[in-house]
């Protein structure tokens, strides 16, 4: 039974973080931009969604708003980099640092409190009766649990990750999507198409952070709250999932990169799951995450080098 529930957790987390990882696929893989602002935008998405849920807003509308708020944060990172010439890593750190305050204020004000500015924590609880995707149509059609597995949660995460994947696949085949690839690959090419490569980067960062916030919104609904711990380690989870997915499945021509990223995310969570089955205390999780990330980086580096030698 323990194994079954671990499997459930790693699939659930795998699907929900796959949305975040698809965001990183855009920023890290397509645009070659290591985007640290996500460390803040996941929680921003969570807080946005939780606050709106407490106001009784439809969970789907809250998720769209969370996505848009994430896009806004991402475009700030893009503007810092493109218009003010700040380096990618620093732009991300600046935005994620600034978002700590934004999340705090949003959480306190959203809870109906007045913001004194001291000693506050970003923690918004979604009350039992507030609307989440698990409590409204269409996922209420599914039985909540089957054989002690939380089927509704699992399937709803799967369906939402799948919808995001399909939409992203369609987008990446559009003119705007192709231009994103061109910008990441060769910014000069975008310039020669009489397009500003900077605008294309800002758009990509907006999308990446929008997806990060969307995944934060789902996590908040699933946990019943959005708190400060949520943002930690998101960059590692996201980038590691992308790297694992692309390096394990990269050779398969029929598989779309977005699919590889989803599998990468599930594999990554499965590794954490195995650690927990083996009885490693959860306090060690972040260290394991860092080690896994290192392994993924080394692995992808090896594969890359082999390809060049061949």
């Amino acid at each position: 039974m323990a194994i079954l529930s671990s499997l459930e957790v790693c699939l659930e987390d795998g699907f929900v973080y796959a949305i975040l990882a698809m965001g990183f696929y855009i920023t890290f893989s397509i645009l070659d931009f290591p985007d640290l602002s996500v460390e803040g935008t996941v929680l921003t998405g969570g807080v946005t969604c939780a606050v709106l849920a407490e106001m009784g807003v439809s969970p789907y509308l809250s998720m769209i708003v969370a996505f848009l708020v994430g896009c806004l944060a991402g475009s700030v990172t893009g503007i810092l980099h493109v218009k003010l010439g700040i380096r990618p890593l620093l732009s991300g750190i600046l935005v994620s640092t600034g978002l700590i305050t934004v999340n705090l204020v949003a959480a306190v004000v959203g809870n109906g409190g007045s913001f004194s500015g001291d000693g506050a924590l970003s923690n918004v609880t979604i009350a039992r009766g507030s609307p989440t995707i698990f409590r409204v149509f269409p996922f209420t059609l599914l039985p909540e649990t089957v054989a002690q597995v939380n089927l509704r949660k699992l399937l709803s995460f799967f369906v939402i990750a799948l919808i995001v994947k399909l939409l992203l696949d369609v987008y990446l085949k559009t003119k705007s999507g192709l231009l994103l690839f061109a910008t990441g690959d060769n910014a000069q090419f975008t310039t020669m198409l009489a397009r500003n490569p900077g605008s294309s980067k800002i758009l990509g960062l907006a999308l990446g952070n929008g997806l990060a916030a969307l995944s934060g919104a789902l996590i908040a609904q699933s946990r019943g709250n959005a708190n400060q711990g949520m943002g930690l380690g998101m960059v590692v989870i996201g980038i590691a999932s992308v790297i694992i997915g692309l390096s394990v499945f990269g050779k398969l021509r029929f598989m779309k990169p977005t699919t590889m990223v989803i599998f990468g995310s599930v594999i990554y969570q499965a590794c954490l799951g195995v650690a927990s089955i083996l009885g490693v205390p959860s306090a060690y999780n972040k260290l394991i995450m860092a080690l896994l990330f290192t392994a993924a980086l080394v692995l992808s580096g090896r594969l890359g080098r082999k390809k060049q030698e061949a």
């Binding site: 003119k175 192709l178 231009l179 061109a182 690959d185 060769n186 090419f189 975008t190 020669m192 198409l193």
Partner: protein, 257 residues
């Protein structure tokens, strides 16, 4: 149509290593001309192209294009009417996209890059016939990623791509220099054919003196930020590689090379 007026350009400005490349440099190109520019390293050829394309801003002076001052126009906006092919074959195409995707993007130049399908299937035949003119077998490899092509093929593709939409000026920045002798010959012939067909105004920087003599309607030699030789018409037709070398050598001796 293109006029550089009293251009000044300094490098490492404000440091002890400050060097002045252009000091009140003026140069103009007429509509329909095909100008070959030669000169030693550091003579200012590529800097001149970078100033025209907007990669660099001049420190002083004006750049007029069909009478309009474009000195402050960003590079990507100038690209709407100026096409450029670089020395590095990788610079003119995207390695991770297929030949088809590269061409589809180029085909959409000066239009909106919105949410319509990136590749318009109806245009594939047009792309194919454009590639056939290169005679490098690329017409049958539309789904191949450009990264898998040879340098010569990539440069031919870059040339075709740069000319897919209507341009007013074509800039060729030592575009045959990175290729083997045979490929470089083919690319030069292809360039000449494209320019003749469209009658476009072109500015080509090259280290190949023979190309400079054989192709183009005007020949310019630059040295230390100045034009030291400018031949057009019959004067250009009568010029030979030996003549050019004589001038070239005398300059080089002057500057102690």
């Amino acid at each position: 149509m293109l006029e550089l007026q009293d251009i000044t350009k300094k490098f490492m400005k404000g440091t002890p290593d400050e060097t002045t490349l252009f000091d009140y440099f003026s140069f103009s190109v007429k509509k329909g001309e095909f100008v070959s520019v030669v000169g030693s390293n550091g003579s200012g050829k590529t800097t001149m192209l970078n100033l025209i394309c907007g990669t660099y801003q001049p420190d002083g002076g004006k750049i007029l294009f069909e009478g309009r001052d474009i000195s402050r126009l960003p590079e990507y906006k100038r690209a709407a009417f100026i096409g450029r092919v670089f020395q590095d074959p990788k610079a003119g195409t995207c390695s991770n996209l297929t030949i088809l995707e590269n061409m589809a993007l180029a085909d959409n130049k000066n239009k909106a890059f919105g949410l319509s399908r990136g590749v318009n299937k109806k245009r594939i035949d047009t792309y194919r016939s454009l590639l056939e003119t290169c005679d490098m077998g690329m017409e049958n490899r539309l789904q191949t990623k450009v990264g898998a092509l040879s340098g010569g093929q990539r440069q031919a593709l870059a040339l075709v791509i740069a000319n897919m939409t209507e341009l007013k000026l074509l800039i060729l920045d030592e575009h045959t220099a990175a290729l083997d002798p045979k490929s470089s010959e083919r690319i030069m012939q292809l360039t000449d054919r494209l320019i003749r067909q469209s009658g476009i105004t072109a500015l080509m920087v090259t280290h190949n003196l023979r190309f400079a003599i054989e192709y183009g309607s005007r020949l310019v030699m630059m040295h230390q930020g100045q034009v030291v030789l400018d031949k057009a018409g019959t004067e250009k037709q009568n010029a030979s590689v030996d003549d050019l070398l004589t001038v070239f050598n005398s300059i080089s001796i002057e500057s102690g090379n």
